[in-house]
Amino acid sequence: MKKTVSIVIYLLFIVICSVEVVPKLIHSSQKEVAFVPYSAGIEDRSNSTEEIDYGRLLENANMDEDTKF
């Protein structure tokens, strides 16, 4: 019985960890080596902070002042 429970728990761990890890590895393997993750320039300044509601964005980002990164 304990062996069966251990196997079930182990399989749950490995499945959920795969769900977490595999997409990240696929993303890393598919991106170009010279890939630039984020950039901002004169031609695409529509995301200026002057137009951003920080409070709303923090709320949407599920972050608040007490959250530590």
Partner: protein, 386 residues
């Protein structure tokens, strides 16, 4: 023969991991200029001036442009930013070229406007922006990196004076490192023959202290990404905190020198929480079969090699520590945390025994140590030295 096989395994595993890292490093180093040109279609004819400074031309106007790179320590490791300045001392583009932070988290930080606020600004009068609450370390790395890179161009190309970096608000790094060191020293004393008090009670006192400090306050648990950071050497470029790295080094050193797994048995906050939950029901340890051990070892090795090759420590993060103590992590990690909590009531320390990468690491240490002992060690059946 068994001894020779063990030596081969002990040598080949780190060699394979270092080769994985070197393969990725070779690719990254050879594409710096290509990466700069990928910031915008307007950037062309890029030439290297020194390690941090480049010159190029604006494709439309033909005017010269100056590009500077800067590394800053961020949440997951070093972060590289680029600042592109035109001949009018104005910033044309800013970019994050490389980061070890989790991509979904970095996306949220960038979405707050930490890049676009610098565009069109003159290098000699940059906006004074404080860090963003809730994303202090990463936003600081990005913004201070851009400012430093802009100043680098200003000094080299426009004769501006070098700006001395204002020191960030003091972090409790010394307190973190001291706490980790003291916990290991106390754990070592606890397991020594000279310890005069009740070992059981003292062990619990240490574990509770570790949960509060290393777990909740500092979030400095040892994880697989810590090992990636150590092997890749990215810690030499700066880290937000060296506490997990110190945990790893002290845990390894203590095991190799004294054969005591102080981290797993006394210090690991996540192990302490699982053990505390197990005490409620009085459950016993789960059954760890041979195929589980080998599958976990294979999982850890493949993940380490991949994260080293891609230079992405965050790719190796799957442990539920962040969610358990600091509420950081994805939905999958959230579900995993709940499963670990529930299963801790059924079997004792399920994560530690069945799937924790630290147990694989200590299996390796045990094998490495066995080489120097008279008796041959065997890879199968090693239990992490608990």
């Amino acid at each position: 023969m068994a001894r020779f096989k063990n030596i081969l395994i002990v040598v080949l595993i780190p060699l394979a991991l270092v080769l994985s890292w070197a393969g990725g490093e070779y690719q990254v180093q050879s594409v710096t200029i290509e990466r700069i040109q990928n910031i915008s279609d307007e950037i062309s004819e890029v030439n290297r001036v020194d390690d941090h400074l480049f010159r190029g031309r604006n494709l439309s106007s033909g005017a010269p442009i100056y590009i500077a790179l800067e590394n800053k320590p961020s949440y997951g490791g070093p972060l590289t930013v680029a600042t592109v300045v035109n001949d009018q001392k104005q910033i044309e583009h800013v970019a994050i070229l490389q980061s070890s932070d989790t991509s979904s988290y970095l996306q949220k930080v960038v979405g707050l406007g930490v890049l676009s606020v610098f565009v069109k600004q003159p290098v000699d009068a940059l906006p004074q922006i404080d860090v963003i609450s809730g994303a202090t370390i990463s936003s600081s790395a990005i913004m201070r990196g851009i400012e430093r890179a802009a100043n680098r161009v200003g000094v080299a190309e426009f004769g501006l004076s070098e700006i001395t970096e204002t020191k960030e608000k003091a972090t409790p790094e010394t307190a973190k490192l001291s706490t980790v060191f003291l916990l290991f020293a106390a754990a070592w004393f606890l397991t020594s023959k000279k310890f005069p008090l009740s070992r059981r009670n003292s062990r619990w006192a240490l574990m509770v202290t570790s949960v509060i400090t290393i777990g909740v306050m500092y979030g400095a648990l040892l994880s697989l990404s810590t090992l990636v950071i150590l092997i890749s050497g990215s810690w030499t470029h700066g880290l937000a905190s060296y506490a997990p790295l110190l945990c790893l080094v002290l845990a390894g050193a203590a095991y190799l020198l004294t054969k005591k797994n102080l981290y797993c048995s006394v210090i690991c906050p996540f192990g302490a929480v699982q053990e505390g939950l197990g005490m409620i029901t009085g459950c016993s340890s789960p059954v760890r079969t041979g195929w589980m051990q080998w599958l976990t070892r294979l999982w850890v090795f493949v993940l380490l090699a991949a994260a080293l090759y891609f230079h992405a420590p965050s790719d190796a993060i799957y442990e539920p520590f962040g969610k358990a103590f600091n509420f950081i992590g994805s939905s999958a990690v959230y579900i995993l945390t709940i499963i670990v909590v529930i299963s801790s009531l059924i079997v004792r320390r399920p994560w530690c025994v069945l799937f924790c990468p630290a147990s694989v690491l200590f299996d390796y240490f045990k094998l490495a140590r066995s080489i120097f002992e008279k008796r041959d060690g065997q890879l199968s059946g090693l239990g992490g030295g608990k």
